[in-house]
Amino acid sequence: MDAQQQAAAENLKDRAYTRKEVVEIIRTVLGSIDKNNEPTAKLHNELSTLVSYIENMRSELAHMRSIEISHHHIPTAADELDAVVEETASATGTIMDACEKIEKVADSLTSPVSDDLANAVTSIYEACGFQDITGQRITKVVKTLKHIEAKVTEIINAFGHSGEELESKITDNDKKSLLQGPQIGSEASSQDDIDKLLASFD
């Protein structure tokens, strides 16, 4: 390789190529190879296989509905897990409010009842530590899911898909389902909202 070729190769290293560009480059190389010459014929076969492999990968990705994974399943799973953290934090807060009230009542009682109550409340405080631990573990899982989501999106983009057209389809499909489990935050209706809705039919 001469100096000019080497410089060109160095420049190419820093560039990211789309699937189309890679296939195009391989096809150009294929076109310039003499298929009747035995050593280059082998190279021709290898490159042909590579083109087929890339094209197959693209169709397999489409078949796997990988866009659904990156644009729908992973974000939904991450949102659900975030909601678990919020709900356990809120429930733990309620438990601790109750414990603090019990402690005040225990202070007005005499031993051994007050001691027994204080010990029981201590055990509840200790057990409430689960929320911190599970919260940290779930946050770690959410980060991992987001990392996977980013990588899957990169792969999809590299193979020339765009997620947008499929995303609207996914949302429409999902809206049709009545089995969506507990709602998250702002999407959820309160009992008041539901009572108002029911009352509007009267």
Binding site: G93, M96, T122, Y125, G129, Q131, D132, I133
Partner: protein, 127 residues
């Protein structure tokens, strides 16, 4: 032996409000009623710079400033306040790093009231 001053100011640092409440309530049961709180190292350092604390009890894993960075900053400023790390990070390298940074004791989550009392005693003395 000098008696432990139970009126000392204690700073509890954790990004989980639940854990702050647990530690503050357990401290209260042990007779320590003056506990402030902060939810990350930066907020804690501001409080430490503005007030005289007798003890810092801090989580490790917080954003934007972690507990270990807080510890380094506190020690870097020449403050020798007793510092207990309370964290789920239980790897040997974490404990060693905390020790290197100047931690006085280390509690692994989940912990119980007895562990907290034992560690307080080891750092502050019998109370």
């Amino acid at each position: 032996m000098v008696a432990v001053n139970k009126d000392m100011n204690i700073l509890v640092v954790d990004d989980y409000q639940t854990m702050i409440r647990i530690i503050k309530n357990l401290l209260k049961q042990l007779g320590f009623n003056n506990a402030d709180e902060a939810t990350d190292g930066g907020m804690a350092f501001e409080k430490i710079s503005a007030k005289n604390y007798g003890l810092i009890i801090s989580d490790w894993n917080m954003e934007p400033m972690t507990g270990i960075d807080l510890l380094k900053k506190v020690r870097g400023s020449g403050n020798k306040v007793p510092f207990i790390m309370v964290t789920a990070e239980s790897k040997t390298e974490n404990v060693l790093a905390a020790r290197e940074a100047g931690v006085n004791n280390y509690i692994v989550k989940p912990f119980n009231a007895d562990t907290l009392k034992t560690k307080l005693t080891s750092v502050l003395g019998e109370f």
